[in-house]
Symmetry: none
Subunit: 130 residues, 4 copies
Amino acid sequence: MKFDDKVPIYYQIKTYLYYDVLTGKLKPGAKLPAVRQLAVDLTVNVNTVQRALTEMIAEKTIISQRGKGNFVTEDQDKLAQLKEQLVMSQLAHVYDQLHRLNLSDSEIVASLQRYIDQKGAPQDVERISD
Amino acid sequence: MKFDDKVPIYYQIKTYLYYDVLTGKLKPGAKLPAVRQLAVDLTVNVNTVQRALTEMIAEKTIISQRGKGNFVTEDQDKLAQLKEQLVMSQLAHVYDQLHRLNLSDSEIVASLQRYIDQKGAPQDVERISD
Amino acid sequence: MKFDDKVPIYYQIKTYLYYDVLTGKLKPGAKLPAVRQLAVDLTVNVNTVQRALTEMIAEKTIISQRGKGNFVTEDQDKLAQLKEQLVMSQLAHVYDQLHRLNLSDSEIVASLQRYIDQKGAPQDVERISD
Amino acid sequence: MKFDDKVPIYYQIKTYLYYDVLTGKLKPGAKLPAVRQLAVDLTVNVNTVQRALTEMIAEKTIISQRGKGNFVTEDQDKLAQLKEQLVMSQLAHVYDQLHRLNLSDSEIVASLQRYIDQKGAPQDVERISD
DNA sequence: GTGGTCTAGACCACA
DNA sequence: GTGGTCTAGACCACC
């Protein structure tokens, strides 16, 4: 057992941008802020931003146009696929956690349904780290 | 946007122990390893372990017997409540994430069901940090 | 029979602060002295103060604002509940003590009433430890 | 503000014996255990026990008969007075505490009555040190 | 041996 | 400057 496995910042930046893209804060075809601007906004090193972007360019979520900037892809299938991937990642994770707690598949679905149903009264649910 | 929100080690220890208790690795009434032993096993300081235990003792998940050791509570209601809390915490988190991605309540349930159905073929789902 | 059950300092600090809050020496929303200042004032270690505060923060009597300070909650319900808890704690204790002396419920109330009535003339009552 | 004012052990012994006498564990006229035996039972020094007894003898709660032992007084008035003193000490203390919390005389009596009435369901009242 | 408490000193994040 | 966390080492009470 080892603790403190901090998530790399460049990875956190990727996730951050994924959400911006998928929630529409950055629309398809939109120009991203300049790398140096992003670095300032996020108070991280330029290289760290660049590393995140490089990976997103490689997977074609972002299109780099030399001398003009970086742009969100307009490929709707690509975006749909990305969203699917994010969603499945989240689900896989929660599924594993609940499975560890010996919940059956149907119990997992039922408990999610139950959570949603009773969500009206927040009841001060405290986040417990993984 | 801020990064690097490191989860305190004592908190990670709590979660670690919660899972040990709820998955039956530590059965009700079982004696926990000595504080100093836990510190060695987890390669953290004794006080860090103690802090985690102190909180779990305060909430009565663990019963401390001075000079003898720490023991998992035998109160089944307490344990059931703890499990419920952990499950709800996980669900609340994933729900929020998927909600951010503009999935409706029913879509969230449906996608979970879909994930479970197609789980047979793993398809290399990569974990994406929150 | 065992003696010397020393009350932990961090616990005494909590009680001390509870009274400050409930008697209005520290008003709702007021900023507490800095942790390091409190440590000096009370001539204890910073960590001991911090431990007391951590517990009070966990129970939401105190609101911690990173980098700014610790503040008394402005939640009147919370404060009323805290006061109720303190009062009941005191009453439970005295009730148990008098019960041990074979006073009936009504005798206990009557003796309190009697104490209050004759309180005008102090008569040199000496405190006897519990 | 100073913490950690530990109560002298000899004083705790006095209180301990007071309760034994007043609850009937030590009846009027009964012989107390030998000083050396008491010291063993309470795991304290003989001199500490002696100091407690000396004070109780001086106030005539205990009668010392040279060579025979120490005996609880048979003076009923004395015992009644002692009990009254203990009760009043407790009441004075709790009264002061609640007064500090700005409860009026009548509120103090009322809250005690309330405590007794609802005492059926214990509700896990936590002792808060003075 | 066990757990519980306290101190001293350090480092980090936030402002 | 602030609070939050972690480490190292010590002492005590209980068994």
